[in-house]
Structures are given as C-alpha cells and as structure tokens.
C-alpha cells in the first residue's frame, strides 16, 4: 500500500506541476485558443470580414437634395461624371455619416496629371497634355473647372459689349453666370480662352 500511495502522490504532484507549468507557458490561459489550435471556424471569420467599416462612401451619397445636389447634377453631366467624388475629395464615408467631418479638395496640378499627363501607355483617345508644355506656369483650375472640365465655352451670340455686365456671377439676367474660378477677371481677359463671334 505504502509504495502505491507514494507513486500516487508522485503522479498527483506531476499532474499539478504540468498544469501549473502549462499555465505559466500559456501565460495564464487554460485553453488552446491562444495558440489558434481551436478548430477552424470560417463562418465566424467571414462575418468578421463582413462587419468591417467602410471608409469610402459612394458618389451617389453626395447628390441628395439637402446636400450637394447642384454640383452633383453638373458633375454627372460633365466629362468628369465618371470620376468619383472621393478621387479628389478623399474618403468621405465619415462625412456622409456626419457632415461635421470635413473632406479635403485636392486641386494640385499633380492630381490632374495622374490622369492627364501624356503617357505612351495611356489609351490615345484619352485627353492628355504634356505638362511641361501646357501652360506650366498656371494652375489647371485657372482654366478648367473640375466639376465641368473641357475647353472654355465658345461664344455663340453676337457681341454686346461688356461681357461681365451679363455674365457676372450675380446678374439676374438669363445669361450663363461665370464659374467660380473667374472671380476678379476683367472683360479684356475673356478672349484669352473663349473663342467665337465677339469682335
């Protein structure tokens, strides 16, 4: 009996030592989870991937009536209508959720050039310029409106003298107002960009 008791005590001591040692190695954990040795659970992990938050909104979120509907309308009809808002304004899901979170506006020539600089690999039909030869001294936005890009509008009516008398940003007459990047411009500058019938 005595020798069996002793053997039993040694066995018990060994078991206790094993459990304690194991707990020390696993840093207090008694399950195998920490070693990722639990059985694979793809369904649970799949739901975790699904639950990640989005950072990019969608352009369609921008055009609702009490937000940016005016600029959205102009943009959808323009040649830039396929360029997502967030490509220039940065990720905006936070702004869509709460307008207090502001978005940025990248108006640097470098941003324009990522699409419009002349490259051999670009499809030839895509509008491209050689930045060093296309008015390198002026910012792109002095001529091009990002939400309504393309060449300056052609004058389609007979001259009536002072352009800005009708085409001011505030004039109530039914003439197209000048775009926002025309602030501070004078009559003698119109023909630098606009071609047409004006004498």
């Amino acid at each position: 009996m005595k020798h069996l008791t002793r053997a039993g005590l040694i066995l018990a001591a060994a078991v206790v030592a094993f459990v304690l040692l194991r707990a020390a190695i696993l840093q207090g954990a008694f399950t195998l989870d920490e070693f990722a040795l639990r059985p694979p659970n793809p369904e649970a992990n799949q739901r975790e991937w699904m639950s990640l938050p989005a950072v990019y909104g969608d352009s369609s979120s921008c055009g609702s009536a009490d937000c940016h509907s005016d600029i959205y309308e102009a943009w959808t009809r323009s040649a830039h209508g396929t360029v997502a808002c967030e490509n220039c304004h940065g990720p905006a899901e936070a702004h869509v959720e709460n307008p207090v979170a502001k978005v940025s506006s990248d108006t640097s020539p470098q941003l324009c050039e990522t699409c419009h600089a002349q490259l051999a690999a670009r499809p030839s039909a895509f509008p491209q310029v050689e930045p060093s030869q296309h008015y390198p001294e002026s910012p792109c936005l002095s001529c091009h409106l990002p939400h309504r890009p393309g060449p300056a509008a052609t004058i389609t009516h007979a001259p009536e003298g002072d352009c800005l008398q009708c085409h001011s940003a505030t004039n109530a007459r039914p003439a197209k107002p000048v775009p926002i990047n025309h602030a501070g411009r004078t009559n003698d500058q119109c023909l630098f960009c606009h071609e047409g019938e004006k004498q």
Partner: protein
C-alpha cells in the same frame, strides 16, 4: 507473488488501471469542453455582425478592361484607405503594372510605388540597357483573382485561408501564424505579409498574411469594391456571376476575355479584356 502484492495493498492492478483511466478520461472531457466553449463564445460574439446577406445566393466575379486603364492609380489609393493597408510600397492588395513591348521583343514592366501616385515618363531601363523603340504600351491592373482552385488554401498549414460560399478567398487573421507559405505559392503575387511594425492593418493583426477580399465588407452590403468605385474609366467591373444580367456577365458575353496564367489550373475569377501575351 503478484497476487500477494495485490492483497497487500488493497488495490490490485485492475483497480489501479481503472482509477488512472478515469482520471485521464475526465481530463480529456474537460479539455474538449473548454475547446467547445471557446468556439461557441466566438460564434455568438461575431454573429451579431451578420446581416441578411446570404452567401449562397451570389458568386462574385471581376472584369479588368486593360484597354480602358489610364494608370491613374486611384484604385490603389482607394484600396489602401478603404482596407487600412499599411502605407508602404511593399504592401498592396491591388496595384497597376505598366507594360512597354519593344520592337526588338523586350517586355518592359514597371510599377513605381505600385502605381499609387500614377506613372510618369518613360519605362524603367536597367543601366546600359539600349533605348527601346516602343511597339505598344498599356496598363494592367492586378488584384487577387479569387481562384476557384486556390493554391493558397492548399498550402496553409493551419487552415487560416478558406473559400466562402460566394467564392471569395479570405484569411482568418486571428488564426494565421504568418508562415508566408501562401505568399510564396500565389502565382499572381497577390498576397503580402502585414509587417510587425505596420502603421495600420486591415483587421488590427500584424505579422499575418493579407490579400484583396474584393472589399468583402462592401459587396456583402450591396456596394461595389472601393477600387471599382474609384476607377474613372470603367477599367474595373464587378458583379455576380450567377446573374446573367450583371455587368460582369454582360462583358463576358459581348467580348472575349482571358485569365492570367490559365495553364496553372487555378481557375481565376478575374477576367481580363485586352490581355496581351507578355502579361504574366
């Protein structure tokens, strides 16, 4: 002799073995219970995130129209931000390659910063390499092909990589041990290791393998992957292969498409329009 010994202790060999077996058996049951409990807890915790999305109803596909790509890199920008991919040149879920095929048969490929800042000037040449006469040039966006027969799943020693019912290959980054086998085995270079000192990570885990999920958190909520949303020229198209009217199926009907490295038998679900032989 043996019988005497048994009588002397009051515990014969049979009883001793029974007792020992009982103790070991209980310990085994205890271990199983712990593991089952661990898994069950995990299930409940993550189950809250599941919406009414049914993976069995969809089978996603992707079309890349290489003819349209202008190499602006907006897809790479969008992907990095949407998925919190580390802001390093060697960590990418998607990237753009630029190909120049020369008159003397060379294939010049470059992808500066993976195309995140767009491309400038002429193709990269090794020092002393003769100035090429370009026959043709084009861009090829790359991303995970979500292969039907994915080699990355086969090699994973801890079953961290798996395929969902809707055809997306995902990585359980809690399970991944960062051994990099999948990164080595992917014939498309679609995987990377989130560095231990990464500034950010898709799931908050570092030293784990990561790859494009076709924005699984977006597509399961009826939205498009961020790169598709960002592409200004329709070079990236996403849709349901189960739906004959989806944009992807429409393109596959109307034009000829090809996959990358079809000879490997990986059965990619990323279909390329305008694929050139020099593209790997």
């Amino acid at each position: 002799m043996a019988g005497d010994e048994g009588k002397g202790t009051g515990l014969d060999r049979r009883s001793f073995l029974k007792l020992a077996g009982g103790i070991l058996g209980s310990a085994g049951v205890y271990a199983v219970l712990i593991n089952v409990k661990g898994t069950a807890v995990l299930d409940i915790a993550s189950g809250q995130a599941a919406g009414d999305y049914d993976p069995n109803e969809h089978y996603w596909g992707f079309v890349v129209n290489s003819h349209n790509c202008i190499g602006c890199g907006k897809c790479v920008v969008a992907c990095k931000q949407e998925n919190r991919v580390p802001q390093r040149d060697d960590c990418n879920r998607t990237w753009i390659e630029r190909y120049h095929l020369t008159e003397d048969g060379r294939v010049l490929v470059d992808s500066p910063q993976s195309g995140i800042n767009g491309f400038v000037g002429k193709p990269y040449l090794k020092p002393g390499e003769p100035e090429p006469i370009i026959d043709k040039a084009f861009f090829v966006p790359k991303l995970c092909n979500q292969c039907d027969n994915a080699p990355c799943i086969q090699v994973c020693p801890v079953s961290a990589t798996y395929k969902t019912k809707d055809g997306i290959i995902l990585v359980d980054q809690e399970r991944c041990i960062g051994c990099r086998y999948c990164i080595m085995t992917c014939p498309y270079g679609a995987r990377y290791l989130v560095p231990a000192d990464a500034d950010r990570s898709p799931t908050g885990n570092t030293s784990v393998a990561d790859k494009c999920t076709w924005c699984y958190h977006r597509i399961t909520k009826g939205r498009l992957p961020a790169c598709v949303e960002a592409c200004p020229v329709g070079a990236r198209v996403f849709g349901d292969l189960n739906d004959p009217e989806s944009p992807v199926r429409k393109i596959m009907r109307e034009t000829r498409v090809a996959v990358l490295k079809p000879d490997l038998g990986t059965k990619p679900k990323c279909y390329y329009v305008g694929l050139e032989e020099g593209v790997r």
